[in-house]
């Protein structure tokens, strides 16, 4: 299989790029692919914390680029799943510590060893984003159903197109079906109407995402949580499987769900 290098980006900050990167990377690895997630956010790294690998950092991407170590010394193997790796970046450097050209050569080196290289891009449209995206062929754009996020997604999609990334797919994150039903939140179809881009996933707003970040365990490494299912579906679609989209309609509660709620155990 041809190695694929995919940048995960959004324009707006705080919409879930790092969470998506960690969860999709883990889900792709669970599907049997050899995957590396690369933190492209020099100076504000967080992929290590979200994946729970922060204690194992010895060398960073910047160390490899500065010649302090080899690239393969920066790889941290995730012990919870086979074939999942992470490359951390430096926390104490700035965006220009990694140039576009350097990123391109890092990516081409990683292509030799991995099926998937996922790059967690920084927010914004400046050099940090451009450098992080330089080595990628494809892009995943994350947005939430909010006007500011959708507007910024539109901007970033334009930039990605001008950089000739293809395909570019959209993930709509943090959907609150109750609000959409009431008409108080943009629905996925509204977002797609506006952005005119292919959809690859819809992720419900799920408090398990916060808990998994607290503990440094990507949700897709467990099961059950709705968001985990959504991210696993995205990973499967990335590998070319035709998975129907999740039903995010507000569910009618059954008898057991109501009992569970009565005891406070429902989520």
């Amino acid at each position: 299989m041809t190695p694929r290098v995919i940048v995960v980006t959004s324009g707006k900050g705080g919409v879930g790029k790092t969470t998506a990167t960690a969860n999709i990377a883990a889900a792709l690895a669970l599907l049997g692919n050899k995957v590396v997630a690369v933190d492209g956010d020099v100076g504000l790294r967080n992929l290590d914390v979200i994946m729970g690998l922060e204690n194992r950092i010895v060398y960073t991407l910047v160390d490899a680029i500065e010649g302090n170590c080899r690239l393969n010394q920066t790889l941290i193997k995730d012990k919870r799943v086979d074939n999942l790796f992470m490359i951390p970046t430096a926390q104490s450097k700035t965006k220009d510590a990694v140039t576009s050209d350097q990123m391109v050569s890092v990516c081409s080196e990683l292509r030799k060893d991995f099926d998937f290289v996922l790059i967690d891009s920084p927010a914004g449209i400046e050099s940090g984003f451009r450098n992080a995206s330089a080595g990628a062929d494809e892009a995943l754009v994350i947005t939430t159903p909010e006007v500011s996020a959708v507007r910024d997604a539109d901007r970033i999609i334009g930039l990605l197109e001008s950089m000739e990334k293809s395909p570019i797919f959209l993930i709509v994150n943090r959907i609150r079906p109750q609000m959409v039903k009431k008409g108080d939140m943009l629905g996925v179809s509204d977002v797609l109407d506006i952005l005119q881009i292919g959809l690859i996933g819809m992720v419900p707003d799920d408090e398990n995402v916060v808990k998994s970040a607290n503990e440094g365990k990507p949700l897709t490494l467990g099961d059950g949580a709705q968001a985990a299912v959504a991210f696993k579906n995205i990973a499967a679609r990335i590998t070319g499987k035709d998975i129907p989209f999740m039903n995010l309609e507000v569910p009618k509660k059954g008898f057991f769900a109501r009992i569970k709620d009565a005891f406070g155990g429902g989520r």
């Binding site: 060398y59 398990n208 607290n214 949700l219 467990g222 709705q226 009992i259 569970k260």
Partner: protein, 107 residues
Amino acid sequence: MSIKSIISGIFGSSGTHSKDVPSGQTAKDRLAFILVHDRIDIGPGKMDQMRLDIIEVLKKYFEINESQIELKLENEEGSTALLATIPINSVLGRSGKTARRGCSSRN
């Protein structure tokens, strides 16, 4: 076991982690640790390397038990201190056992 946990056990909890420590507390503990390292720009991996280097030096002078050496970073009143507890079994080149609770150093 609480009624709640029995119920969610029976019906299957959709939660990811049902350990005793709430994840918010885990988040706080992890962050405290992460930020100490971020602020001095030395990660846990580098700390391990430093530990090995320190042990190499100490071995020239003392007989020590490596597994008993404790190195940790602590934040006190806005400054960071490296606290080291190094029990010494004996001083090399001298007879008899010297004692116990060793160097505690601060930067």
